[in-house]
């Protein structure tokens, strides 16, 4: 670690490339915190978007035409408006309408910028997840469900043991694509000052005037994250693959 820091310090002295985060303790702290915030943001968004997708897909199978139309409208709204404006809308408009509590002298909102970023991006990606899950369920043929009920399965049992396991495998590739997109889209949280990597990098380069260096770090960070996610997902996809099928 010492050596590592010394190397970048020396690099700065000799070449002028200022990777301040690797030798300055304070900036390093900032950077590490940003990594955690980003990862937390990504994971929270992934989970929330999956929940939205499940609920949405379930609601799309509802009897009521109104429910189905509301879901369809939700999908179209999030699909055809800029995600960046969505995040601003959630934070400034809805954030303004939600209650706040007294945090010792000033008003603190129950849902902060991090929370609104998760909600907004979760709904954004959730709109796609809804479609993905629904088409996955539709891909399970009626006859397979019928075979289950001929074996005495109840509706719920056949969903748990037959439909979901199959539907999930069918939609996994599409789901993975969407999650990779979501990862990249979390940078939009910059717009509402969530201290994630993009935002922190901006602060660091404002303080240290090292824009190109921080840009390089940013690229490595995000391309690396995408690579890890894609690698993990495709491993998973492969392990879920049914032999002799698809």
């Amino acid at each position: 670690m010492e050596l590592f820091g010394d190397y970048f310090k020396q690099l700065y002295d000799t070449s002028g490339w200022n990777f301040v985060i690797f030798y300055d303790q304070v900036e390093w702290q900032r950077f590490v915190e940003a990594i955690w915030t980003t990862i937390k943001l990504i994971i929270a968004c992934l989970i929330f978007s999956l929940i939205v997708g499940f609920v949405g897909a379930w609601a799309q199978g509802a009897q009521s035409k109104i429910v189905r139309n509301v879901i369809a409208g939700y999908i179209q709204f999030f699909r055809n408006t800029p995600p960046f404006v969505q995040i601003l809308f959630f934070y400034f408009v809805l954030g303004n309408l939600t209650p706040s509590y007294d945090a010792g002298g000033y008003q603190e909102a129950y849902i902060g910028s991090f929370g609104w970023a998760v909600i907004s991006l979760g709904f954004f990606a959730g709109a796609f997840n809804t479609e993905i899950f629904r088409s996955g369920i539709e891909a399970v043929p009626e006859s397979t469900v019928e075979a289950a009920s001929a074996l005495g399965y109840t509706r719920l049992q056949s969903y748990i043991h037959v439909v979901f396991p199959l539907a999930f495998r069918v939609c996994l590739p599409a789901l993975n694509n969407n999650l990779v997109n979501l990862l990249k889209t979390t940078t939009l949280a910059y717009g509402i000052a969530v201290p994630e990597m993009m935002y922190t990098a901006n602060q660091i380069w404002s303080d240290n005037v090292n824009v190109p260096e921080m840009m390089i770090v940013l690229f490595f960070f995000y391309v690396g994250l995408v690579a890890i996610l894609v690698y993990g997902m495709s491993r998973w996809e492969r392990s879920m693959k049914i032999p002799g099928y698809g």
Binding site: S143, T144, E146, A147, A148, S149, A150, L151, G152, Y153, T154, Q157, H161, V162, P165, L166, R169, I242, P243, G244, Y245
Partner: protein, 260 residues
């Protein structure tokens, strides 16, 4: 193995083995405006094997799907061991414990291996002990001659092998009646035989079977009784010998002349 006599327990019906095991009376079934079954009646005694034959669209599949309540009926009565299928309060699980069904398209669960396909329903539906189910499943694998294929996935099996897994899967529920809906129609000619052999063995062991088939030779050899359906009605029926050699109805004659 499934012994036909262990049935009917606790369902509170007063069926006795001398009555028909499946009794279909004046069954009417429509899909919207289309009347598919127009008053079908037939009885199947315990240990009997009957074949239903007839032209495409005559309602054969619909009829046997009604027997295990995959389709509901508008009018008439279907009694399985005294259990009324045309009853809004029907306990479907009770019915499906009695009646096994094998489909034309096998409909195996592709994400489970052969043995898992066989074991799944007894464990999840009947809540039977895992070890007992495993033992039973292994004996069924032997019965359908699929030793060595236990851990293959359906996608790795031939059509004939898949269909035999499907038969074993149904038998794992220890049913008293088996329904077969054109189970060889999707198979290559070479593999048809292995599936038919399995069914024939079942029938010879005394399993009550209702078969829909286009394999006339097989029907003649295995069936106790043949029913010919056309336009939702049973046009003619009889023992195989009389039915095939001495058909009375012109429609039956025409059908047989085309198919034989």
């Amino acid at each position: 193995m499934a012994s036909p006599s262990q049935s009917g327990n606790g369902s509170g019906t007063n069926w006795t083995p001398d009555q028909p095991m499946v009794s279909i009376k004046d069954v009417h079934k429509s899909f919207g405006d289309l009347e598919v079954l127009k008053g079908v009646s037939l009885d199947v005694m315990k240990g009997e094997c009957i074949c239903i034959i007839g032209p495409s669209g005559s309602g054969k599949s619909t009829l046997i799907r009604c027997v295990n309540a995959l389709n509901d009926i508008q009018q008439g009565s279907i009694l399985v061991e005294g259990l009324e299928v045309n009853d809004p309060n029907l306990d479907k699980l009770e019915l499906r414990k009695k009646v096994g069904m094998v489909f034309q398209q096998y409909n195996l669960f592709p994400h489970k291996t052969a043995i898992e396909n066989i074991m799944m329903a007894p464990i999840t539906v009947l809540k039977q002990d895992k070890d007992e189910v495993a033992e039973h499943a292994n004996s069924l694998i032997k019965k359908v001659r699929l030793e060595g294929k236990e851990n293959s996935y359906p996608g790795e099996l031939s059509g004939g092998q898949q269909q035999r897994v499907a038969i074993a899967r149904s038998l794992a529920m220890s049913p008293d009646v088996m329904l077969f809906d054109e189970v060889t129609a999707a198979l290559d000619p070479e593999t048809v035989k292995e599936v038919l052999n399995t069914i024939q063995e079942l029938a010879e062991e005394g399993m009550t079977c209702i078969l829909v088939t286009h394999e006339m030779g097989f029907a003649r050899e295995v069936a106790n009784h043949i029913y010919f359906t056309d336009f939702g009605l049973i046009v003619e029926h009889g023992a195989p010998a009389t039915f095939f050699d001495d058909a009375k109805d012109p429609r039956t004659k025409e059908f047989l002349s085309q198919i034989l």
